[in-house]
Amino acid sequence: MTGVVAALATLVPALVPAALVQDAPLAIDAIGRLLQPGTLARIVIEGLGKAAIYFIIAVGLTLVFGLMGVLNFAHGAFAMLGAYLGGVLLVLAVSSGTGPITRVAFFVVVVAVVFALMTAFGSVLEVGLVRPIYDRTPMYQILLTFGVGLILEEGARIVTSVRGLQPEPSWTAAASTIPAPLESFHSILGANIRGFYLFAAIAGVAVAVSVWLFLNRTLYGLYIRAGSEDPEMVEALGIDVRKAFTIVFGLGTGLAAVGGVFLTWDPTWGASVLLNIDVLLYAFVVVVIGGLGSFKGTLAAAVIVGIADSLTTWLFNTGIVPFPGLPEVTVFALLVIALIVRPQGLYGVEEVGGH
């Protein structure tokens, strides 16, 4: 393990903060600042806010893989579509005079609308494109879903350029619909916390609880859990497992899109066509660390990745580590470590998806 860290440190010097190694007084100063209760609380709460969004996006990816054995490479594109769709609706609904509570109410309505539309879109995609290739090798599914992702990304690029929405680096009109209390910082537990992350953390808990209740407290959720183990056996018990596939793919698409709507208000993301790949990578990191197909694992991994992200963002923002790529590098380093130490993921089973 130490060998790996050392090797990584040579490759990416900033990963192991140079200050920690070379400049002992500065390192002690950094640790001192980190251990202040206010700082820790801020890192944890902002981390949970980020974790919530990663979880909302990744949970669909893991459920689709668990039930159908399909690695959906179009998942990031669904989040991107959700971000634009939600962004457009927010811009249409919100004017400069709209009060903060009304803005939040609009946001909730927009989330519901985007979820419904994108769930329907995902269901249609599943029936029309994915269903015919379940029996093929995974390569077909990867090529198909990756292709769908590219088409959606280019489609979005064309539409946004024509409409002058400025697809890159990000579209600021949607971000500016955020109500002031969520954009500003609040003093909680002695820490300065951006309202948005608290809002996102609460939403993440709501989504996690809803998905958990659906899977564990409804008959349909039971069919889905059984289908993740052995779809053929479920079918032989008289249950239309194909319908379960459609529903799960649809819900996964809808949730990814809801995650996208949250990204429009997230100060570090925003609506952009680049979300297709960026979000896909983060979602994959989360589901691989958590264990492909595992709900619990996705939740745990989202928290790990979210807090790592917020810790390293703090290290950069305070100038302790002067390397802007630090959060991203850390997240992928976590993936590498997980693949070496525990390739099946935190809660993964050696073999998932019955086919």
């Binding site: 008959l219 039971l222 069919y223 859990r225 059984a226 183990e229 052995d230 053929e232 056996m233 479920v234 079918e235 032989a236 018990l237 008289g238 249950i239 239309d240 497992v241 194909r242």
Partner: protein
């Protein structure tokens, strides 16, 4: 489990109809796995209330016959009729819904679901779940004792009981049972046999079983398969493994 429908018309006519329509009928069924021609024209029929054993060496197509009935591996040629209705080419869940249950080889528990959840999955949405659950729990007290345990923690015998229970709660007229005694200790096999007898009081049964004396003991009739076709059939009454027509096909 099935309605006899004798309340209105005269009994003779109803009897006649039952005799003319077997519960299950396979007519010249040909089934392939990819290019391998496994079933090469299987004909068989099962009357209501019977236990019919499918016997034969490994790889002659016994399991494939069950998979063809359920349309898990749909036949390329031939017809499968259930209750007089052609079910060939239907989806498996539709066929299962019409009243065919499956107790597959190697049990195929949902290992990460609890024992009770395994039972729950098998009960249709319009059925009285609690009554059916209590019924199988009474039959198999071990299942009740471990109802909240994940099924993968059960012993082989308990898993087999659960597989049979799963087939019994589905309101099935026909149960396809594949190798129920495989890998179980003799004492456990006795319990499984008791469970199967209990189940057969409720439903018709097609039984695939390697243990020849056990198959003959349980079943009313047998079909002997070889190279994907039926080569012998008849009543199990007095049939032993020494029988020339049986020995020829069963000895290695």
């Amino acid at each position: 489990m099935s309605s006899s429908g004798t309340e209105t018309s005269d009994v003779a006519e109803a009897d006649d109809r039952e005799r003319s329509t077997p519960l299950l009928e396979l007519e010249d069924v040909h089934t392939y796995y990819g290019e391998s021609h496994i079933l090469q024209g299987v004909n068989l029929s099962v009357e209501e209330g019977e236990i019919v054993a499918l016997i034969g060496r490994n790889g002659v197509g016994k399991t494939t016959t069950l998979r063809s009935i359920l349309q898990l591996t749909p036949p390329r040629e031939g017809t499968v009729r259930f209750s007089g209705e052609d079910v060939t080419g239907e989806s498996t869940h539709e066929v299962a819904d019409e009243g065919i249950g499956w107790v597959p080889e190697e049990r195929r528990m949902f290992g990460y679901l609890t024992v009770e959840e395994n039972v729950r999955v098998s009960v249709g949405p319009d059925q009285e779940y609690e009554a059916l659950r209590d019924y199988v729990f009474e039959l198999f007290p071990d299942l009740e004792r471990f109802r909240d345990k994940e099924a993968r923690n059960l012993s082989g015998g308990q898993q087999q009981m659960l597989a049979i229970a799963r087939g019994m709660v589905g309101d099935n007229d026909l149960l396809l049972v594949d190798e129920p005694s495989e890998g179980l200790a003799p004492m456990i096999v006795d319990q499984v046999v008791d469970a199967l007898r209990e189940a057969s009081a409720e439903t018709t049964m097609v039984l695939v079983e390697q243990n020849f004396p056990l198959a003959m003991d349980l079943a009313d009739r047998f079909y002997l398969l070889d190279h994907g076709t039926v080569v012998e059939s008849g009543s199990t009454e007095g049939v032993t493994a020494d029988d020339e027509r049986i020995r020829r096909y069963l000895s290695a």
